[in-house]
Symmetry: C2
Subunit: 395 residues, 2 copies
């Protein structure tokens, strides 16, 4: 008979968000009238902006016409115009269009990067972290060489690189999910120098880059000189323009990034894109293109500002209870500390006493224990109500 893939045995039971959904349902079964507000999963709630929605609608309509129909793109790596606009508008020319591949989202690209590097690669992962880095690495078979890099208030949520063994891959997310910490240029320069010295490759997740408001914080790893020799970058339209359901992201694999044998990584990456992926939806790509016009960019800024206002409300609510909270400024996530308490216990308390769904920090890794992640994605009214309920809790 066919053996179960042994890599699955190493996964912890239940992916984090389905488990949260299960507990939410359990509350509703017990108390069907509970008016639950979700600050859990980072799911956008606001309508698409006019420029983007109209572009999607037009793209859909054109597909119903003989002149406007399109099937497979000429290139699975994505529409040339979109790759050019991402290079020009978001990377200001630091990256060329041919180094950019368009995808159905950052999570999917991370999975494909794990295929690119394979199960023999050793990996370092921030702790806490987006679960896909660890679970995806385990599924790929990289479990043997997995190191955590603890990120806590004591180290300003930036890992102590000096204490690490060399690894092939370093996952790094900034602005960070879940801690909300946005790395400074000095910190990222230290990370790049460390990768160059160790001949490691950084997988830089910049999915929240549009939430950066403070001046001088880098929005891309490629703002650090030399990063294009040691880093790939994934990013997404999900959180910035509300495409969590529409599905659109991109990945940068610079031409200067090379393997030990001197071969560039980009051709192998394009081989994966051609072989195991067939391009992002042509409708979604038209929406992405609209979002990168000057009008689209202004709308994106307003949309992001809406969620940033939410983050302020949550931060204020938490601070009135005396809880120390981090993040929420250059990030849609607030990372609240409950010293001495288990985060699943705090999750249950907040769920059952305030009817607010959060995400227990322990779900993001060992160093997330005693923390709770609050997501600022939601309607103002809901967020305001949740903040009021939080203020009344005694921890």
């Amino acid at each position: 008979m066919v053996k179960r893939n042994p890599h699955f045995a190493g996964l912890s039971e239940g992916y984090l968000f389905p488990e949260i959904a299960r507990r939410r349902r359990a509350l509703l079964e017990k108390n069907p009238d509970a008016k639950i507000i979700s600050l859990g999963i980072g799911n956008t709630t606001e309508p698409l902006t006019p420029a983007v929605a109209q572009a999607l609608e037009l793209a859909a309509r054109e597909l119903g016409t003989a002149d406007g129909y399109s099937g497979y793109a000429d290139d699975s790596a994505g529409l040339s115009a979109l790759r050019e606009q991402i290079a020009a508008v978001l990377y200001k020319g630091r990256i060329t269009p041919r180094e950019i591949t368009i995808s159905d989202g950052a999570k999917c690209d991370i999975g494909r990067l794990q295929i690119l590097f394979g199960g023999r690669a050793t990996v370092c992962i921030q702790d806490p972290a987006y679960p896909v880095y660890v679970d995806g690495s385990l599924i790929a078979g990289a479990g043997g060489g997995l190191q955590y890099m603890p990120c806590r208030p004591e180290n300003d949520f930036f890992p102590d690189l000096g204490g690490l063994k060399r690894a092939d891959l370093i996952y790094f997310c900034s602005p960070n999910n879940p801690t909300g910490a946005a790395a400074t240029k000095t910190q990222l320069a230290e990370l790049v120098a460390f990768a160059r010295q160790n001949k490691s490759i950084i997988i830089f997740d910049a999915a929240y880059s549009e939430f950066i408001v403070e001046q001088n914080l880098p929005r891309s790893i490629y703002e650090i000189p030399g990063a294009d020799e040691v880093a790939v970058e994934v990013n997404s339209f999900s959180k910035s323009i509300g495409f969590t359901g529409v599905r659109l992201g991109w990945c940068v694999v610079p031409q200067k990034l090379k393997f030990e044998d001197g071969r560039p990584a980009l051709p192998d990456w394009l081989r994966i894109i051609n072989t195991l992926f067939n391009g992002a939806s042509n409708i979604a790509q038209r929406g992405g293109l609209a979002a990168l016009t000057p009008a689209g960019r202004r709308e994106t800024q307003n949309l992001v500002a809406y969620y940033q206002d939410n983050a302020k409300l949550i931060l204020e609510g938490l601070r009135q209870t005396g809880i120390q909270a981090y993040g929420g400024v250059n990030s849609p996530y607030i990372w609240a500390h409950f010293p001495g308490q288990k985060s699943w216990d705090v999750f249950e308390k907040i769920l059952n006493e305030a009817y607010v769904v959060t995400t227990p920090g322990a779900g993001f890794g060992p160093a997330g224990e005693s923390f709770i992640r609050f997501s600022a994605f939601g309607r103002h009214g809901d967020i305001d109500a949740a903040a009021q309920r939080l203020k009344r809790l005694k921890f």
Copy 2:
């Protein structure tokens, strides 16, 4: 430094379709006025049908409204309504909605199935075959245990199962890409019996099932009793409703399908869907739902009939040159035999003398040598013109 993933070294140079695109560009550089007609890649050309296009347009419009907006779905496995309709309309209740996961296309699902089974699985693959089975298996690391199952006119394009060593996975595509052969119930029953006896798992690719016109030919492996214990099935909206660019497909992993240790495969599959995929575009899913209404089904039949008429034109054109051609009845592909000739040579001859792009059979595997695949996806006028040009060729 980071080592190149050794699995990539086993891949042949250049994925088939990019190589064809390169040769097409080379002709245009030499002869910019050449009016090239493509019967190469299986890319749909006809506009989406009204029911589907209107559903996509409405879905896009609603995303721009507060009430109609949606982000991440509750379940990465797809809209409940779509899974229910696929189970009811296309599987007539043989498969339950929870055994169905919605995806961005069959190619992507095949890649994820290769992650599910891992690189230790031994595999049997029809020869010729859609390149993704071989290339994806090699990338996953399954190169060591790869067996070809030759499918030729002599065996009615159905493999001689008796001569095979046992393998974990058997890739089988019907109606077949590229040979155009649609397996009979008797043949599929033999395949299922073989898999049950050997305790193998069939990966059944039914992406062209809507092209079946002849009575009594199975459209799903699950029409064979007992198949739900030994087969997963992938399928797609790409070719049936013209979603090659919109991206929508599905996969069936039956609850009865188990690994050696008695564990069902479905939870591991759902883990992959949750961990490395975030659901198909919510716009595309609404289009799929519209295609499964009675009106949508009628439109699909008309759309498929359009391409089937094209296939007849190509078959007639080829037969007038005395070329033996297969397929093209229950499939959009015609598989033409040029005994004693190399298929890349025939490809070049047809490209340079008739300005018609085809696909050389050798690109689909060793047994594809001396064959050419003609795709029936195209506008009637173009297909007719291509058929006229083909008639004038001397082979």
